[in-house]
Symmetry: C2
């Protein structure tokens, strides 16, 4: 396997956090090779204490610029040609890396990936997918914000791509696909979801029909398809609702009347809470460009970066780019 290119500079936090996560992934997986893209002194210093056998699997790629979280996508394409993000994506395009991972600005990453890698044949726009913890394991939801709108045809393409991730990365034989709407009856929703529903019903996909927001968790489907505006709102809403509910639980258990009894249940609850923790989920994957790009997000950035590198490896091993090419053509 070719190395994974990791942008260790971009994101809300310090590069050393991302470097720590990348190096943990490298230490965990003796088959993994990485290209660490960023400030060479920083990277070299972080590599120094590692065993020679681990260091041997890392290459340093020097980048003189960083895409900032507030950079506009178009500006990032034009003015940040030597940024760690751009160089990581360039390495994929040049066939020198099999995937790239970045914790940086999602809009810039999406735009640069479109510009450098191009979209797959039959794919008009890339979409962002992530695995959300649900009653039956995970629900794969896309688009989580690569676009602010989607046409019916683009929603069909998202469905075909999402099914590949659920099947080839998560091992579901025939992933059930639902289209997010505000009611399950056929006549509900605006004209875009109505037209997408008609396209999906005629497609070769295992499409089960409209689903509602609570079906992201119910286990009714494996893949939830929606436009990037609705998907991003839903994703952030999930994060907020889980955090709010968890806070209520832990605040209740901290009250003096129950704190003694709470000591007995806290370790089990904290372990369970990991299931809902985005740091363990492995980030978001940009689907539909001609290469694998994983967007790392989470509160503990080292952990999130490590999970994201693992996710990139899984996507490479499952040949998701080739499988998506076939799937989008088949479902058309």
């Amino acid at each position: 396997m070719l190395p994974i290119a990791i942008d260790v500079m971009s994101g809300d936090h310090e590069p050393r956090e991302y470097l720590a996560g990348a190096l943990r992934a490298l230490t965990d997986d003796p088959q993994l090779c990485v290209q660490l893209v960023g400030e060479p002194q920083l990277i070299t210093a972080a590599l120094a204490p590692l065993p020679a056998s681990v260091r041997a699997r890392a290459t340093v790629v020097a980048a003189s610029q960083v895409v900032a979280m507030e950079d506009k996508p178009r500006e990032a394409i034009r003015r940040k040609k030597d940024s760690s993000m751009r160089l990581a994506i360039d390495l994929v395009q040049q066939g020198r890396a099999c995937a790239c991972v970045s914790a940086g600005n999602t809009g810039a990453l999406t735009a640069i990936a479109h510009f450098v890698l191009g979209t797959l044949p039959g794919v008009e726009r890339a979409a962002i997918i992530s695995a959300i913890p649900a009653a039956h394991g995970h629900t794969h939801m896309l688009d989580l914000g690569a676009n602010t709108k989607a046409t019916p045809e683009q929603l069909r393409q998202f469905a075909a791509m999402g099914a590949i991730i659920a099947r080839d990365v998560y091992g579901l034989a025939a992933p059930r696909i639902g289209l997010l709407n505000i009611g399950e009856e056929d006549m509900k929703g605006h004209e875009v979801v109505q037209a997408a529903h008609a396209l999906l019903t005629r497609s070769g996909l295992n499409y089960v029909g409209f689903v509602e927001g609570d079906d992201i968790f119910s286990g009714a489907v494996d893949v939830v398809v929606t436009d990037g505006f609705t998907g991003n709102v839903a994703l952030k809403t999930v994060e907020g609702a889980i955090r709010g509910t968890a806070k209520l639980v832990f605040d209740t258990l901290s009250s003096p009347e129950v704190s003694q009894a709470a000591e007995g249940v806290m370790p089990a609850l904290l372990a369970a809470a990991q299931e809902l923790d985005p740091d363990y989920i492995g980030g978001c994957t940009l689907l539909g460009v001609d290469g694998i790009c994983v967007i790392s997000h989470g509160s503990s950035n080292a952990l999130a970066m490590r999970s994201s590198v693992h996710r990139a490896v899984e996507c490479v091993e499952a040949h998701v780019v080739d499988r998506m090419k076939e799937a989008v053509a088949d479902a058309g």
Copy 2:
């Protein structure tokens, strides 16, 4: 105060559930008068065991039809003119009730209310609002699904109406209003939210800018404005995420290793869980029509109906319809 008209027939559950909730509200509040709209025998039988002082405040209004959950809005208007839902709304229009409450088909209720009551001057479309439990108490979110789309001007009207509920029903002096988007930066989102942002910035409202899905809970704003598609998805997502998280907590506490210790914390957790329970929140209110319509929803329908009747009383006492007329005009 005029009586509240209560549709005791429509909804997913048995009329006796709704009747039980209505009669609990009637028993709780010695000032309350109600018109119970539906099957007269059912209602009379339910009233029979109550004390004469309570019965005296209830009137039976006979309805020969029921709007079904699957009835299309247009068909409900045309063919269900003697339904409990229609008659309850008619009573408001005729000035014989000060508000109506129904647990029925939201689409039909919205359509009938538009048709019978009309919208307020300056309001193009009604919107559905509800109070969602949040870090600072509640966040008032609208539109939760009265419409599948909204124009920028309609979003401005929703903001003005939502602020009245937060101020006059919930007592917030200057409710902070946010517009739901997929990023907080000014350039984010599609053209509808961009144009609405410009309108709201120029309005006299206490508009603080774009917010994201997690701000529904964060306490950053008091009112979250969005179109009915996004709002309905977000609401259902909140319900699913809370239910999923609560299930994980209770499943964890039921495991044999911790079940002993869990007994000590369970009563406190169950009490805390009430804060997140839609049955206690008082349903959704349809804003922008010339009258008060509360839509009752919840898993325990008697409880939900009782909360919804209380919500209707609060709206009447706060003169929300008159206040909205002024507010929509002022903010224009």
